[in-house]
Amino acid sequence: MNRIDQLFQTKKKNILSIYFPAGYPHLNDTNSTLELLQKKGVDLVEIGIPFSDPLADGPVIQTAAKRALDNGMSLKLLFQQLENARGNIAMPLILMGYWNTVYKYGVDHFLADCRKSGVDGVILPDLPVEEYEEDYKAKFELAGIYNILLVTPQTTRERLMQIEKSAKGFLYMVSSLATTGGILHYDSKREEYFKKVSQLDIPSLIGFGIHNKESFQHASRFANGAIIGTAFIKALQAGNSEKFLNGLR
């Protein structure tokens, strides 16, 4: 069974997912960060494939991606790092990146390497669901790699149905209309949106704007858990990632 399904079957609430860019802050930090996350009881990890033009990301992730690229990080290198990591790491691993890097790598090659290095799923924000269904869904399903799809406050009910049909693992519920790294504000409309999505049969996690224990717990009330990215990167940068993770639970 895919490790993502396993996780959501055994744990229904307060699932903590952490995002960090591969090769950051230093080229060979990917594996030690993974080990730290496992030690601190993080449930799910999203590893960012650095890209030169991360359209959906705010300044913190942009800067981190640029630094990783300057360090010499690449998708090819990431797969090499992960092959060494899987032995010690039991958490489900998801790669998050932009479609151009995957396309350039070659989709078949990419899926094969995901399998080889124990990757369970991917998040490709700029591959729209209709393109995925038309050209790639069959390949992903054959490889057993889950394509995690995003929904937003503007996603219509019709589209939500379409996305749910193709979704695997869980839905990535984008909290607000903004790039990553903003602040999440609650109002009745937002809560309605969270409720609408969490009523679907597929599990969901809330991401964008979750930055500390309080916002994590609050968001977790509306979904199976939440995703923290920017705030963790800031902690990595400041060298206090362990303390940050201790403070989340």
Binding site: A56, N100, T101, K104, D126, P128, L150, V151, T155, T156
Partner: protein, 601 residues
């Protein structure tokens, strides 16, 4: 779709019809026909028919010698064989360099299998209504029968087609339908065609038949285009996609748009024959003067159109990106005109390089936000503009070229197509022919080129040349020649050609001209390059500078550095003396004076 008007013989009628956008004229050399040209057909008149119209002689079971004699005498380009001619005759005619159109008379019993034998000896088939006198019945046959024709040879559809058939023609979809053969339904008396009736019909047909370089329902040009955007942008892009065609096809938009183009932008812009340059290059060079528009570049054609769309959609805040600042200025201008809030993202590096345009935008009341991400040029400004739109979905993103997710490439192409629409009309007045031999334009994102090429895309005889900026040289690593050195990828929501490294990281382009300094290109251009319809060449910084100086000193026109790249192509092509060459002068050089002063110091 092509059109052939058949059964002509009177000199004044032929001369009148030669002004219509038709592709073939047919002359009947079969003595028993009521439209038989007889002996009075005017050789001189036929020789004067514009090159764009092919002359076809129609024969029925005639001897090869006679056919070839008439072909030579009247300068025919092709022969239509309307009887029971053998394969050998077809082949002999073809070997003599003439097009062969083999006609067949169709009824319910027609055996389409027998056509296969003619595949290599006929260029086209013509399907006519079966009658006792070898066609010319003026009656239609049941076109549904043609479903049985599965061959690869394109065909002319003939037999009684008239003004009332536009709808049927539109609904009749056959992959090999190549041309309509028009005759008796457009006549006042046999062989005398009614020009106005024909003109109206041609216009209606043109509007209903598909342009094969047009975007499809999914937003693709061939394999390129689409809308590769995060779900966060979906609703924004959908809103525009659902509205743009409705708006631009509306009467009100057309009225407002053209009124503003005429009275505010200063259109039509002149088509100037540059005599000194023509002499130097030994050919006939015309400049399409987009430099003479308000704000000094073609960019305003697009911003005027998009601001009207924004207004009709009830938008209050406009977001734009800019490289050289030309699109930023054109956007700030129309925002001032319509009283809308204007936010322009500009790479921090470009803010320094293009100070005069920054000052213009500010004076026009726009807020200029330096993009400090990435390499701080146009690509990064575009990223920032899109990020702003994610956070502010009620705003209107006014994109500056034929790039971005569908529907932007199509929208901007349509708005810029005014350029080639005017060129056609002006050339016709100037030379008697709608079509030049060449159209040349520079390509950054590709909007001025898309506009200058648009109405010529299906005129395969017109050679279209796009000029990219190769910076210090195509292989120098300091270049912006996307199509020349790039490959397939995804940038700013579009599948297209782009410059990237082996890991799929988008690389930073370089060109002396900020407007061409973009690592991607519109998906239409990727498609035109791959399909071979347009030739993509490049010019270096130095070649562009030299071309700018030459134009300034021989014609008294200082071009924008971008446009100077198009002019540099004049050195790279061997023109014939009689060629008509149109260069799209996309903008004026005022904004580039600092660069020119440094280069020519």
């Amino acid at each position: 779709m092509k059109t052939k008007v058949c059964g002509l013989k009177f000199t004044s009628n032929i001369e009148a019809l030669a002004k219509l956008p038709i592709d073939y004229m047919g002359f009947i050399f079969y003595p028993k026909s009521s439209r038989y040209v007889g002996e009075e057909l005017d050789v001189f008149c036929l020789k004067n028919i514009p090159k764009g119209i092919k002359k076809i002689g129609v024969f029925v079971n005639e001897d090869l010698d006679i056919i070839m004699f008439k072909a030579k005498k009247y300068g025919l380009n092709g022969i239509q064989l309307h009887g029971e001619e053998s394969l050998q005759i077809c082949e002999s005619i073809k070997r003599n360099g003439l097009e062969v159109i083999k006609a067949f008379q169709i009824d319910e019993e027609f055996d389409f299998e027998k056509l296969a034998a003619y595949r290599s000896s006929a260029d086209y088939f013509l399907f006519d209504t079966k009658s006792k006198q070898y066609g010319g019945s003026g009656k239609k046959f049941n076109w549904g029968i043609l479903k049985q024709y599965k061959g690869k040879t394109p065909f002319f559809l003939s037999g009684g087609i008239g003004a009332d058939d536009v709808k049927d023609i539109k609904e009749f979809k056959h992959e090999q339908l190549y041309a309509l053969d028009l005759n008796s339904a457009f006549e006042d008396v046999p062989a005398q065609k009614n020009k106005n009736k024909l003109a109206r019909f041609l216009k209606e047909i043109k509007m209903t038949t598909k342009n094969k370089y047009a975007v499809d329902e999914r937003g693709y040009y061939g394999q390129f285009g689409g809308a590769f955007i995060p779900e966060l942008l979906r609703a924004n892009v959908d809103e525009l996609r659902e509205n743009y065609l409705k708006i631009i096809n509306s009467k009100q938009f057309q009225t407002d748009y053209h009124r503003l183009l005429n009275n505010y932008v200063g259109r039509p812009t002149p088509l100037t024959k540059v005599e000194n340059l023509s002499k130097q290059y030994g050919t006939n060079i015309y400049l399409k003067r987009e430099d003479l528009t308000h704000t000094g570049a073609h960019k305003i054609n697009n911003t005027i159109g998009q601001i009207l769309i924004a207004k009709y959609m009830g938008k209050k805040r406009i977001i734009a990106e800019t490289g050289a600042g030309q699109h930023g200025v054109a956007t700030a201008t129309v925002c001032a005109l319509f009283g809308l809030e204007c936010v322009v993202y500009m790479g921090a590096l470009d803010v320094q390089r293009q100070a005069p345009n920054v000052a213009r935008m500010k004076m026009l009341g726009a807020k200029v936000i330096p993009a400090v991400s990435g390499n701080q040029t146009l690509k990064d400004a575009t990223n920032e503009a899109i990020r702003d739109w994610i956070a502010n979905p009620e705003s209107f993103y006014l994109i500056g070229s034929v790039v971005g997710p569908h529907p932007y490439p199509d929208l901007v192409t349509r708005l810029q197509s005014i350029i080639s629409k005017e060129i056609r009309k002006q050339l016709q007045e100037e030379t008697g022919n709608l079509n030049p031999d060449y159209v040349i334009a520079c390509v950054g994102g590709g909007s001025n080129a898309a506009g200058a090429f648009y109405h010529y895309l299906n005129e395969e005889k017109v050679q279209l040349i796009a000029v990219e900026a190769s910076g210090l040289g195509v292989n120098s690593g300091e270049t912006a020649a996307t199509i020349t050195i790039g490959d397939v990828g995804f940038i700013h929501g579009s599948k297209t050609m782009l410059m990237q490294d082996e890991d799929g990281q988008i690389t930073e382009p370089y060109s002396i001209s900020a407007g061409l300094d973009y690592p991607g290109v519109g998906p239409l251009h990727a498609h035109l390059a791959v399909s071979g319809r347009v030739s993509y060449i490049s010019a270096t910084d130095q070649e562009a500078l030299d071309a700018a100086k030459l134009l300034a000193q021989s014609e008294g026109i200082i071009p924008a550095l971008e446009s100077a790249h198009a002019l540099a192509a004049l050195d790279k092509i061997k023109f014939k003396k009689e060629d008509v060459v149109v260069v799209n002068l996309s903008g004026r050089g005022d904004k580039d004076m600092e660069t020119y002063m440094k280069a020519f110091a």
